[in-house]
């Protein structure tokens, strides 16, 4: 029998939780807790640990194939390679907005999907693109060919001396 003299339920004097209801609350809580943790662990699976996909490291040819002042488009690799007096540099052709391939426009690059425009250094001139086109790391492979590391971004203006 509950003690009827005690006014139960006020904020200062909350009703006593008896042992039985405490234990059943704990049981229900541990059930949902365990299920929740188990589900969260199971749902960790679709988050890929390794990102499959093409190796984005391209040999583009020997340095003397790129005359000073030249520009070359590599369509399959989605990049442009330029050479000026200071060296060789590569600019990604993947639009920073939603990933379409940009095309060469008179004074820079233009994206066909949502109309972003970039200047020749890749800086945004118009449209929704949030960032400039990334400059990519250029290096030399063991056989003397130039190699572009398309996953490695370098600061704008970085050139590879050849």
């Amino acid at each position: 029998m509950p003690d009827l003299t005690m006014p139960a339920g006020s904020r200062l004097d909350p009703p006593r939780v008896n042992r039985r209801s405490f234990l059943s609350l704990a049981a229900i809580g541990s059930f949902f807790g365990a299920i929740g943790v188990a589900l969260a662990g199971a749902l960790r699976l679709p988050n890929p640990a390794v990102l499959p996909g093409p190796v984005r490291r391209f040999k583009i040819g020997f340095p003397d194939q790129f005359a000073v002042g030249s520009e070359t488009r590599f369509e399959q690799e989605s990049l442009f390679v330029f050479r000026d007096a200071e060296g060789v540099y590569a600019i990604s052709a993947i639009c920073t907005h939603l990933g379409c391939s940009v095309a060469r426009a008179p004074n820079g690059f233009a994206c066909p999907c949502h109309g972003s425009k970039f200047d020749l250094r890749g800086d945004v001139q118009a449209g929704p693109a949030p960032r400039p086109l990334p400059w990519l790391e250029v290096g030399r492979a063991a056989d003397g060919q130039l190699i572009v590391f398309a996953d490695n971004e370098v600061p704008e203006g970085t050139r590879f001396r050849v």
Binding site: L98, G99, S101, H114, P128, P130, R131
Partner: protein, 521 residues
């Protein structure tokens, strides 16, 4: 009925066996249909409805307003019917479809050119998907403008909104499966919209530690680019996860209709006529001195507590005929469309060269227009705001009245017309301005990305609509009318943007008056 359970005297087991064999058609029928014959009296009809798994989601009697075609326009049923068509044709397509980047495109070509009725099945699948999306949107508008989301139907409105998301997700995941140019680039764009919170995290420089956008994209694609992993993920979502979720929620949706007391309708006085014995007559005369109740606890006023069968008719056959008719109509529409128009199939996906323009399916083109201002604001934030706004409607507009009647509260029709005009003018004006004068970045090339995210034609339209709705709230002193204003504005804005991006956006997302003016490339 089944007459000879025990063996009469002086018959052999062989005779009994033959006797039972002769009775087999009848005993089988008795076992299957518990009544054993076509139900005749209304009592038998009730039992037949009640005892059948597939029929018992209907109540035995249905209100005459529910059957009025001008009330529901059959839109919910059309949505459900087109989903059934999608399931059947989808399973048939699965027989030949191979979810692999090297085989998918060829298997679709096989379906198109080699498989008997393959092209027709794919067309039906495509067209019924369009029908489903249209019907779901219109169904939502019907429920809104008839005030049918009000208590006790708030929860079913939420279930409906979840079903809307599932419908669109099914469309989106199905888009990749042919693995043609359209599929590849629409999915690339979609995945990068999922990636677009990075715009914000980049702008404030925390992407290295906190990158929800990249997480969403990896989860969707399983890689950094659309490829084998993405195709399998989309396939599993499209043929299993999303349909199963949709079927479950559809079950909840139907069940709640029943539990919330059928379709919404106005209060009516007790003791009206009902169909009884073939004609409408008064069958229930409540006595003022008696209290009527159900023998179970029933929440709310809607289930027939304290009343007789006023203005109702038997579900069998009235409702069932109507349902079959709507189903036939849906199938007929899908068949006719599929007969005259083939589902498109572009060239094989080429990751090097995008389609120009690369357009999503038409119902996402309104979003694509917004995305061309800012991927994060247009692709994620505005849809989220709109969806949450829709979800809040039944909890902010709680004043009863006008349920189940088109534009049921006073002044509603007028506000709807005014909002239609306002929404039309603002969205068309905004588009015209943007096309003619450009936007922030055309004027200030060095502007910070945060400004582009925050202030763009899309977010300004949302602000205008919210402002208009607040004005209506103040002037008309009615939450319902403010909701009508906002809903109408968003509906019109969505329609205008969708139309604009479908017709007037061409290569490089530039404005053209007509697709025939697009430059040849």
């Amino acid at each position: 009925m089944a007459s000879t359970a025990t063996r009469p005297d002086r018959t052999t087991a062989t005779q009994e066996f033959l006797h039972n064999l002769r009775l087999l058609p009848r005993t089988l029928k008795d076992a299957w249909f518990r009544i054993g014959h076509t139900p005749e009296s209304e009592r038998e009809v009730s039992q037949a409805t009640f005892h059948n798994l597939f029929l018992h989601i209907h109540s035995v009697r249905v209100h005459v307003r529910t059957l009025a075609p001008a009330f529901t326009l059959g839109l919910g049923l059309i949505s459900a019917a087109s989903f059934v068509v999608l399931c059947i044709t989808g399973v048939l397509l699965m027989v030949y479809y191979k979810p692999s980047t090297t085989l998918a495109y060829d298997s679709i070509k096989d379906l198109h050119y080699v498989v008997f009725t393959g092209r027709f099945m794919r067309n039906i699948h495509r067209w019924s998907a369009h029908v489903m999306v249209v019907a779901v949107f219109l169904h939502m508008a019907r429920v809104f403008y008839t005030g049918s989301y009000k208590k006790p139907r708030e929860f079913n409105w939420l279930v409906g909104l979840a079903l809307l998301v599932l419908t669109l997700a099914l469309s989106f995941t199905g888009y990749l499966l042919p693995y043609d140019q359209l599929a590849y680039w629409a999915t690339t764009i979609g995945a990068n919209i999922a990636n677009s919170p990075r715009e914000l995290t980049d702008a404030i420089g925390i992407s290295t530690w906190f990158d929800p956008g990249g997480f969403q994209k990896r989860l969707l694609l399983g890689a950094n680019f659309v490829g084998e992993d993405s195709l399998i993920r989309f396939y599993v979502l499209h043929v299993f996860v999303l349909p199963v979720l949709l079927i479950m929620l559809l079950g909840v949706h139907f069940w709640r209709i029943r539990k919330d007391g059928g379709l919404a309708r106005p209060e009516e006085p007790m003791g009206g006529p009902a169909e009884w014995g073939g004609s409408m007559k008064r069958v229930f005369e409540p006595l003022a001195t008696k209290t009527y109740g159900l023998m179970a606890l029933v929440k709310g006023r809607r289930p027939t507590v304290n009343r007789g069968p006023e203005n109702t008719v038997m579900s069998w056959p009235h409702l069932f005929w109507a349902e079959l008719a709507v189903f036939m109509l849906t199938v007929a529409i899908c068949l006719i469309l599929s007969f005259y128009s083939d589902a498109p199939l572009k060239e094989l996906a080429n990751p090097a060269v995008p389609e120009n323009p690369a357009k999503a399916p038409w119902y996402f083109l309104g979003l694509q227009e917004l995305v061309s201002y800012s991927a994060f604001m247009g692709g994620l934030l505005i849809p989220l705001i709109a969806w949450v706004g829709l979800a809040l409607i039944p909890f902010l507009d709680r004043r009863p009245g006008g349920e189940g009647v088109w534009f049921g509260t006073p002044g509603e029709r007028r506000v709807a017309w005014q909002s239609l005009l306002f929404g039309l003018l603002t969205s068309v004006g905004m588009l015209a301005f943007t096309v003619n004068f450009g936007w922030l970045r055309n004027w200030f090339p060095r502007i910070h990305q945060l400004w582009i995210i925050a202030i763009n034609p899309g977010s300004i339209l949302v602000l205008l609509y919210a402002g208009w709705s607040l004005l209506v709230l103040k002037r008309k002193d009615s939450v319902r009318l403010a909701a009508v204003a906002l809903f109408t504005c968003f509906l019109i804005g969505f329609t205008v943007l969708t139309y604009f991006a479908t017709i007037h956006r061409g290569p490089n997302w530039q404005f053209y008056w007509w697709p025939s003016q697009w430059p040849v490339h």
